[in-house]
């Protein structure tokens, strides 16, 4: 067991390469979702800009 712990992340216990891969994927997911949210904000603001007086 102790040998197993030597190769794992101290805080999470997950193998470093696996944890790094998961965190990298999570960051990518987060960036994509944040960009989608930003695009929706801009789109609706532009709805206001172009929709005046319609």
């Amino acid at each position: 067991m102790s040998e197993e712990r030597d190769v794992t992340n101290e805080r999470t216990g997950i193998a470093p390469e696996d944890l790094a891969r998961r965190r990298r994927n999570a960051r990518r997911t987060a960036i994509i979702l944040a960009l989608i949210a930003l695009a929706i904000f801009v789109a609706f603001f532009m709805t206001g800009v172009t929709g005046r007086g319609q």
Binding site: T12, G13, A26, A30, L33, V42, T47, G48
Partner: protein
């Protein structure tokens, strides 16, 4: 590794004890700089409870003023500030943060993840909230007063707010940023951090409902941000987005607001569906009936929530085709919702049911939320809505959806998982007293409001005609009783956490199934450091289980 419960799950040795005492020392390190999902979950829940009582205090002011006809206690403008702030605080400060608190605590435990995927962003998304609500509440003490145009912030009325309006808009922006960051974190966690074997269709319903809720949040919070930004520029920078005199269109605000506002209702209620779908199987000692149908029904409700927004605007005027479309689309929501109610009842059918406090609140939810759903169907009928619109019938409808709906399930979830969080059992006797006091008083509070609305009493008024006096008095008495009843909940929680001598086992409830019940109670500071191996026997409603049951 050692096997802790069952033959099919293996937990890391450190789940049981070793990491338990790795809590940071000192208040700042433990609570302000924390990146631990359980501590952040606790922060969210405590914050939400505080906001629940602040928003509840405002409701008491409203009901006290409406206790009898005439102006008794407050000025009309302050009354309008109370209705507006009550709604903003309950929606954005109490219900939504409470669900994020549940998500923080339970989703990593339910999917076998060591923490949320982005722990530092998790800390940030919580700590924005106290500043946002301090700003919002501070407007009550400003010369121009707080917002008084209702939580919908319709222009041109909302643009008559004084300089404090900038604080309101900035507070809404901060709440939105917090919600979006929380939603991103939840999606990133569910999509990337699930334990081996935790396939999508093995996830507990609470995780599913939150996944769909998180997508809703990302889709609609930026819409609200866009709407209030335009209000801000109209108010302070001379634009005319919603000012007809400048070529703008106030009705456009209503369209944009409700494109956010209707999905927002489901943001508050979908996690409630998830909690009830966890509790009813546990106390019926049966797997959830129709697991996959529940998932598809949740997704259907989320989709439909985007195409029904104009049912809030029937009285504005729209083409007949538009009225028909929004009426039928709204009625269509009753189908997946009906599937859910049917499945909850079917889960209870012939189950070995017991009625602990979480189950009582869950059953109370099923019955009373259905009342709110049925009055929603009445409001969906365009011709009838012209009569009901802006009356107390609408107030009764959405309070039935949100109080015995969202608030009851928050209570149900709190009682259900409190032993897991604290390691102690709460007082079942006082929990049941809380349930019965809440159930009786909430009906005394809101049911008479249906009659008031049908008789024509408008909403958002501090005074009313004498013929509405009796039902208003009954409603106010119910309101005071409901408010006081919630103090029982605070007492139960404090007693459970600090004074209860009855220790909780890991499984807590006899019928409970799922990863969160395999870790000790209280859940150690770090859990699933070594990912568990999840198999179908471990999961309450695995697809294999469903197939096996169907083939029997």
């Amino acid at each position: 590794m050692s096997s802790i419960t069952g033959d099919d799950i293996e937990l890391g040795h450190d789940d049981a004890h070793a990491h338990d005492d790795h809590k940071p020392k000192g208040f700042l390190a433990r609570w302000v700089f924390t990146t631990n999902h359980k501590d952040i979950g606790t922060l969210y829940l405590v914050f939400a409870l505080l906001m629940f009582f602040i928003g509840g205090g405002m409701a008491m002011v409203i009901r006290a003023e409406l206790f009898m006809p005439g102006l008794q206690l407050v000025e009309p403008d302050f009354f309008n500030q109370m209705t507006t702030m009550h709604a903003l605080i309950m929606v954005f400060g109490a219900v939504m943060p409470a669900w994020v608190g549940f998500a923080n605590w339970m989703i990593p435990l339910m999917v076998g993840a060591p923490d949320m995927a982005l722990p530092r962003m998790n800390n940030w998304s919580f700590w924005i909230l106290p500043f946002a609500f301090t700003m919002l509440l501070s407007t009550l003490f400003m010369e121009s007063g707080g917002p008084a145009a209702g939580w919908t912030l319709y222009p041109p009325l909302s643009l008559q707010t004084g300089d404090s309006f900038a604080f309101v808009v900035f507070a809404v922006h901060m709440m939105g940023i917090s919600s979006i960051m929380g939603a991103i974190n939840i999606i990133a966690t569910i999509m990337n951090m699930r334990a081996p074997g935790m396939t999508l269709l093995r996830m507990p319903l609470f995780v599913w409902t939150w996944l769909i809720t998180a997508y809703l949040l990302i889709a609609v919070m930026p819409v609200l941000a866009g709407a209030v930004t335009m209000l801000l520029t109209d108010h302070f920078f001379g634009t005319s987005f919603f000012n007809a005199a400048g070529g703008g269109d106030p009705v456009m605000f209503q369209h944009i607001f409700w494109f956010f506002g209707h999905p927002e209702v489901y943001i508050m209620i979908l996690p409630a569906f998830g909690v009830v779908s966890e509790i009813i199987p546990t106390f019926s000692r049966k797997p959830l009936f129709g697991y996959s149908a529940m998932v598809y029904a949740t997704a259907s409700i989320a989709f439909l929530s985007f195409i029904v927004w104009a049912h809030h605007m029937f009285t504005v005027g729209m083409p007949l085709e538009g009225q028909l479309f929004f009426m039928y689309a709204t009625m269509l929501i009753a189908v997946p919702t009906g599937v859910k109610v049917f499945n909850w009842v079917s889960t209870m059918w012939k189950g070995a049911m017991t009625f602990e406090t979480p189950m009582l609140f869950a059953i109370g939810f099923v019955v009373l939320f259905t009342i709110g759903g049925l009055s929603g169907l009445m409001l969906a009928i365009t011709a009838a809505d012209l009569q009901y619109h802006d009356t107390y019938f609408v107030v009764a409808h959405f309070h039935y959806v949100l109080v015995p709906g969202a608030v009851f399930t928050l209570m149900a979830g709190a009682y259900y998982w409190l032993p897991k969080w604290s390691g102690n059992m709460y007082s079942e006797k006082w929990g049941k007293i809380h349930f019965w006091l809440s159930t009786i008083s909430v009906n005394v509070l809101f049911f008479p409001q249906h009659y008031l609305g049908l008789a024509g009493m408008p909403r958002r008024i501090p005074d009313y005609a004498p013929q509405f006096a009796d039902f208003n008095m009954i409603s106010s008495i119910g309101g005071f009783a409901f408010g006081l009843s919630q103090l029982v909940f605070v007492g139960v929680v404090i007693h459970c956490v600090y004074f209860s001598k009855k220790r909780a086992t890991a499984q807590v409830w006899e019928g409970a199934k799922g990863l969160e019940w395999t870790v000790p109670s209280p859940a150690p500071h770090h859990t699933f450091s070594t990912p568990p191996v999840v198999t179908s026997a471990m999961v309450a409603h695995a697809e294999e289980d469903v197939r096996e049951r169907h083939s029997e």
